[in-house]
């Protein structure tokens, strides 16, 4: 059986940042397990800038950013094993792995889960109709265009208007693909205003309050049925590009029977990035789809600090944890899910998102006493943070929003 002090699952920005930081702190036997052929994670096949301002103080493209992250981790002494898939998590922690040479087992003092996120499939979005070829997510499109230099379709419809949707639009543009329309189920474009002018510039109509209700075509996509303000109608298209609606890549955890937070779709963590299962930590987009690569990198560094303390036995006992209850229906998720009486750990803030536009006051209370408050004016898909008070008492915690009338 292989041995490691710290085994990190996933060589994306979070995993590589943690590996580099742990290495610099003197942790010796660090292994990063990556199932793709090269390290770097999602930025590898993002054609757009900017990456790296926070990490390298310069603007990089996705691929060179990914290479630098890997080089920094290896420079700090971490070993990156590519083409290595973790197939099961066990208490211990112990892992089952497989690579080109078959199956193997690994035992580690700490396992850091940094498996990232993926976009929701057509199935998870419950889009009906036929099942032709030519339905892709942004991740698949960018791999096909940027890694393969192939073109999956010419005139697709794009579903979604998140930041990644505009990244997908740019990828289409670069590949000579001319999207027929961008389709947004909500009343407004999700991404910030800057990105939203892109379709205008590229002459792609954005259809708001519109859903794709069916996909047409037996072998290849021939069109979609949409339903919007003008009623149901068909539009011709030779592909469907599903963008965003990210969810945690938490399948290994689910298979191991670990507790997942239905709100984030990721694992439940405490302020130290720990899971309930002894020796397991988590970081990056796995925690809460979806933030930028830079945010994932910062999350990886934060959890590395916590792991370093854990390896010397310095973290408080998990039994002291105080679960954070969410009492406002408008809060989509909040994390960390478990706080400690001693106040902030390595997560200094409660990070949350709302499910609809909200304005009012965000309130953290404990045992009925208000212990933190701040104004909130937020849209969906925008990060909101609330500093964790320096000292908490005992008793159940509740997060709520007092909305403006």
């Amino acid at each position: 059986m292989m041995q490691a002090d710290v085994a990190i699952i996933g060589a994306g920005p979070a995993g590589l940042a943690a590996a580099a930081h742990l290495g610099l702190m003197g942790v010796k036997n660090i292994v990063v397990l990556e199932r793709e052929a090269e390290p770097g994670g999602i930025p590898r096949h993002c054609g757009h800038s900017p990456f790296g301002m926070r990490e390298f103080r310069r603007v990089l493209g996705g691929a060179s950013y990914a290479r630098r992250l890997a080089a920094r981790a290896e420079g700090a002494g971490a070993r990156i094993l590519c083409n290595t898939t973790v197939t099961a998590l066990h208490p211990g922690p112990k892992l089952e792995l497989t690579g080109p040479d078959g199956a193997e087992r690994l035992s580690a003092r700490v396992v850091l889960l940094a498996t990232g996120t993926r976009e929701s499939s057509r199935v998870q979005r419950m889009i009906g109709g036929q099942k032709p070829g030519g339905i892709l997510t942004t991740g698949a499109l960018q791999g096909i265009v940027h890694l393969n230099h192939q073109r999956p379709f010419r005139r697709p419809v794009i579903l979604g208007t998140e930041l990644v949707s505009f990244s997908a639009l740019l990828t289409c543009r670069q590949a000579g693909i001319r999207p027929v329309a961008m389709i947004e189920p909500g009343a407004r474009v999700v991404a910030r205003a800057g990105a939203a002018v892109l379709p205008l510039l590229l002459g792609v109509p954005v259809l708001r309050e519109t859903r794709i209700t069916g996909i047409l075509g037996r072998d290849r996509v021939e069109g979609v049925v949409i339903d919007g303000p003008g009623g149901p109608r068909e539009i011709a298209a030779d592909g469907v590009l599903l963008t965003g609606a990210f969810r945690s890549e938490a399948t290994l955890m689910a298979a191991a029977g670990m507790v997942l937070d239905p709100r984030t779709t990721g694992p439940e963590i405490d302020v130290f990035g720990r899971l309930a299962e002894s020796g397991y930590f988590a970081a990056g987009n796995l925690l809460r789809p979806v933030e930028t690569a830079g945010m994932c990198w910062a999350s990886g560094r934060r959890v590395a600090d916590a792991i370093a303390v854990h390896l010397t036995g310095g973290l408080p006992c998990p039994a002291q944890g105080l679960p954070l209850r969410i009492d406002a229906p408008a809060i989509r998720y909040a994390l960390p899910q478990i706080l400690f009486p001693a106040g902030p750990g390595f997560h200094k803030t409660i990070q949350l998102r709302v499910s609809r536009p909200v304005s009012g006051e965000l309130r953290l209370s404990q045992g009925g006493d208000l212990i933190a408050r701040q104004p909130i004016r937020a849209l969906p898909e925008r990060r909101v943070t609330l500093p964790i008070p320096r000292k908490l008492g005992e008793g159940p915690l509740s997060l709520d929003i007092e909305e403006d009338a």
């Binding site: 083409n83 998870q124 991740g139 791999g143 393969n148 999956p152 000579g176 290849r220 399948t251 239905p262």
Partner: protein, 459 residues
């Protein structure tokens, strides 16, 4: 000018056509298989519930029952030689209402009459010991130990490969256009050329009546496609059910089944919806939502489980419940139509029946194909050295498996065909991670390419 002279031409490479081609090829006939699609198993056989039925609830005394029983027995006899999986998990037929409970003794008597004598009655008290996740509303049931899970595609591919090993020829994109009966043989004009065959077997499934009209000018049965929609849950849900959970059947349908698949998922379905359209297996969100709710009333812990996939299959039902099998030896024609929902279980039995109708002496197989192991608990390629690494991470499909599926007796010709042979993109991410690499690996290999073209293509 005919491209070849054959003893038997099988029209349709679904599971039934493949099983018939296998039988005739093993029995020494020169066999031709004509399939209109880019790849085999592209019609009714592409979506089903992947169960090997015992026939316990088939109509008593029917040809369907005989074929299921014979098919079941032959599958059990041959599966290990071809590496085909069999999970003998058994089924529970469950009663949720008083009325359904009252029907149980009759169903058990029917099972006994059908030769399935090992069924056992279970009551409200004993059921939880067998299935701890069942909703408490379950009243009673009985166990059918012989019902089993199989791999619906590997099985059919194995039949086809064995047919090819015994000399059968497969022609894809070969739609039958016209046919003339000559003195002793048929002249078949297909989109892939013309062929001559002494005997034609119409195993055209959803197009059975259409092909019958091409052959004889009329059809004595009408195909009435019956759509079945399914939901497939992600692998963690498979732990919720050990048995195949069947409802008390009605006259129209076996009803909604909840069961694991051999690939380690949990399936809920099918619906039974009559439709005219033979190609359109659309899924409908409202129907899927209803299926999900049905699943949750049977296994409450299904609530919140992730759904990996949904799909719909079209059963080639006809206006009559019975199989529409008939031999006209004078004319050199065997029709195998209306094989509605039991085709997978009955295929090998139907093939035996057809061989008997034609009067061919049974042969002995010389060669046995060794199928790749795709079952979740089988010895998968990802566990073996030298597999080239994993391409599809959700289903743990290796480069070596993908390469193998693009070689061999009937190489994959489309992404759909590759999926059925290897399971690529069938998992929870539905191709988010592996589509790009698959597009690279399959470039130039399929008659139906994955992608529209290269970035630097004109246009």
């Amino acid at each position: 000018m005919a491209q070849g002279v054959f003893d038997v031409a099988v029209v349709g490479a679904g599971v039934v056509g493949c099983a018939i081609a296998r039988r005739f090829a093993i029995d020494g006939a020169r066999v031709l298989i004509l399939e209109r699609a880019h790849d085999v198993l592209d019609g009714a056989s592409k979506g089903n519930s992947a169960i090997l039925h015992t026939g316990f609830d088939a109509p008593e005394g029917s040809l369907e029952l005989d074929c299921i029983r014979a098919g079941y027995a032959e599958y059990r006899e041959i599966h290990a030689r071809m590496n085909l999986p069999l999970d003998p998990c058994g089924a529970l037929v469950l009663a949720w209402t008083e009325e359904q409970q009252a029907a149980l003794p009759g169903l058990m008597a029917q099972a006994a009459a059908n030769g399935v004598g090992d069924v056992e009655m279970l009551d409200h008290a004993t059921l939880p010991a067998l299935e701890s996740q069942l909703a408490p509303e379950v009243r009673a049931g009985f166990r059918v130990p012989g019902e089993a899970l199989i791999d619906p595609w590997s099985a059919a591919h194995a039949y086809l490969y064995q047919a090819i090993q015994h000399g059968a020829e497969l022609r894809l994109r070969a739609e039958l256009l016209t046919a003339e009966r000559q003195a002793e043989s048929w002249r078949l004009h297909a989109s892939a050329g013309s062929f001559e065959a002494g005997l034609v077997v119409n195993a055209a499934g959803l197009w059975g009546d259409h092909v019958e009209r091409i052959l004889t000018g009329e059809s004595w049965f009408q195909i009435r496609p019956r759509k079945g929609q399914f939901i497939l849950y992600d692998k963690p849900a498979a732990a919720l059910a050990g048995h195949i959970l069947l409802p008390v059947p009605t006259k129209v349908t076996k009803g909604v089944v909840v069961c694991r698949t051999i690939f380690g998922n949990l399936l809920v379905g099918p619906t039974a919806e009559e439709q005219e359209e033979r190609e359109d297996a659309s899924v409908v969100p409202a129907t899927l939502e209803a299926l999900r709710q049905t699943g949750e009333t049977i296994l409450p812990a299904l609530a919140g489980q992730e759904v990996t996939a949904f799909y719909a299959g079209l059963r080639p039902a006809s206006e009559d419940k019975a199989y529409r099998i008939r031999a006209d030896l004078e004319r050199g024609l065997v029709t195998v139509g209306g094989i509605r929902s039991t085709g997978l279980s009955a295929a090998l039995g139907i093939a035996q029946h057809v061989a008997r109708l034609v009067g061919r002496a049974p042969g002995v197989a010389r060669d046995w194909p060794e199928m790749p192991v795709l079952a979740q608990d089988g010895a998968r390629d990802w566990q073996a050295p030298g597999n080239g690494g994993i391409v599809c991470h959700c289903e743990l499909v290796t480069r070596r498996e993908i390469a193998a599926a693009m070689e061999g007796p009937a190489p994959a010709q489309s992404l759909a065909g590759l999926k059925r042979r290897t399971r690529v993109t069938m998992g929870r991410c539905q191709g988010f991670y592996c589509s790009a690499e698959l597009a690279r690996l399959t470039e130039g290999r399929f008659t139906q390419p994955m992608l529209a073209g290269a970035v630097d293509d004109a246009g």
